[in-house]
Amino acid sequence: MGPLVPQEIIGASWNLFIAFGIGIGFGFVLEQAGFSSSRKLAGMFYGYDTVVLKVFFTGAITAMLGLLFFSLFGWIDLSLIYVNPTFIWSAIVGGIIMGAGFIIGGFCPGTSVCAAAIGKIDAMVFIGGIVLGIFFFAEGYPLLKDFYMAGSFGPIKVSDVLGISGGVMAFLVIIAALVMFKLGELAEKKWPREEY
């Protein structure tokens, strides 16, 4: 029963190797989808290319369903899966800053590495920026620490907060996503751009 490494069905020494393999899959799919192009990524916010919406949500939903079905079949123990803890204020403010970074820089860390792999110089500069940004945070940490730790709720799940099951939650997200996909496709028809 999964997850295999935490349950010690596979030795922990394999974990880094597994990470590498997963990374290859991740990078390959991202690049195939076109996430190595900042213009495609930014297109999400101007309507001419909603690839981000489609890939992102389809990906999250597929994994969400996968986890729920695996749990149903007894193939995975969901209580051992990492659920990222909620620190509400830093999540919101951090998200806002990242959103600004996204529209200004046209990348996020994962896609920038992917783009740098195919030779995009703007992606490499973006990565350089990330390094600086992290450095600034690290140096300024003593000032930020209290805010950073505020509003801690632990690893709470939306389904628990809403009092519904994981399956119902997944279904709701799917419905929302299908609606957004439809809107996205309409937007692309309205504001077309040639391929780049």
């Binding site: 490494v5 935490p6 990492y82 279904f171 799917i174 299908l178």
Partner: protein, 207 residues
């Protein structure tokens, strides 16, 4: 049909299924039947009354007595320091921290050995360590520790040593009046080792 439509329909249908099917909340057994057979035949989980009496008297901090009888029976009488986790609720999440841990020795007891051993079987199959069964339960406890019978004159010396110990123990434990002696004889029992539970490392994640 285009890939896109196929995926849309697929996601929608799978979503409906997963929303309607009840969640799998069964707790899986971690030990196979063969493993359990070996463990049961080895009977390493049994601890006898003398050992437990000794641990209670020496105030051993790693001992945790667990009474698996009903709450009423627990209220009427329970061993000093015992907590009550009735067999009927043993699978509930609220007791998980007591039953699945690596710090204390849990000694399960009931009136006889049956219910406590049944509890042990379930806990062991779930993979929990550090749970033991009080041999003979409270019935045996009262007969031997609380009201020890003097051995006949033909008994070997160790029977007398046990009797002396039990007399002193019952005095310390509030049993039927006997002359309290000084420190009870040390029992040879090697205390079972508390198996430190490898904190199942919930994996780190995020960034």
């Amino acid at each position: 049909m285009s890939i896109r439509n196929l995926i849309f329909i697929g996601l929608f249908l799978l979503g409906m299924v997963i929303a309607m099917v009840p969640e799998n909340t069964t707790k899986p057994y971690k030990l196979t039947a063969e493993d359990m057979l070996i463990e049961v035949q080895g009977a390493a989980e049994m601890v006898d009354a003398d050992e437990v009496a000794h641990w209670i008297i020496s105030k051993d901090p790693s001992l945790q007595l667990i009474d698996v009888r009903s709450p009423d029976e627990y209220q009427t009488y329970h061993l000093d320091g015992a907590i009550n986790i009735p067999l009927s609720v043993i699978l509930k999440d609220e007791y998980l921290d007591y039953l699945d841990q690596g710090i204390k020795m849990n000694v399960l007891y009931s009136n006889g050995t049956m219910n406590s051993h049944q509890s042990w079987m379930i806990l062991r199959q779930l993979g929990f360590e550090n749970n033991y069964v009080l041999q003979g339960g409270l019935n045996y406890w009262f007969d031997t520790i609380m009201n020890p019978q003097a051995p006949s004159v033909y008994s070997p010396n160790e029977e007398f040593a046990k009797y002396d110990f039990r007399k002193a123990a019952s005095g310390a434990l509030g049993g039927g009046g006997v002359v309290a002696m000084s420190a009870p004889a040390k029992t040879k029992a090697d205390k079972p080792k508390v198996i430190r539970k490898k904190k199942k490392k919930a994996p780190a994640g995020g960034c």
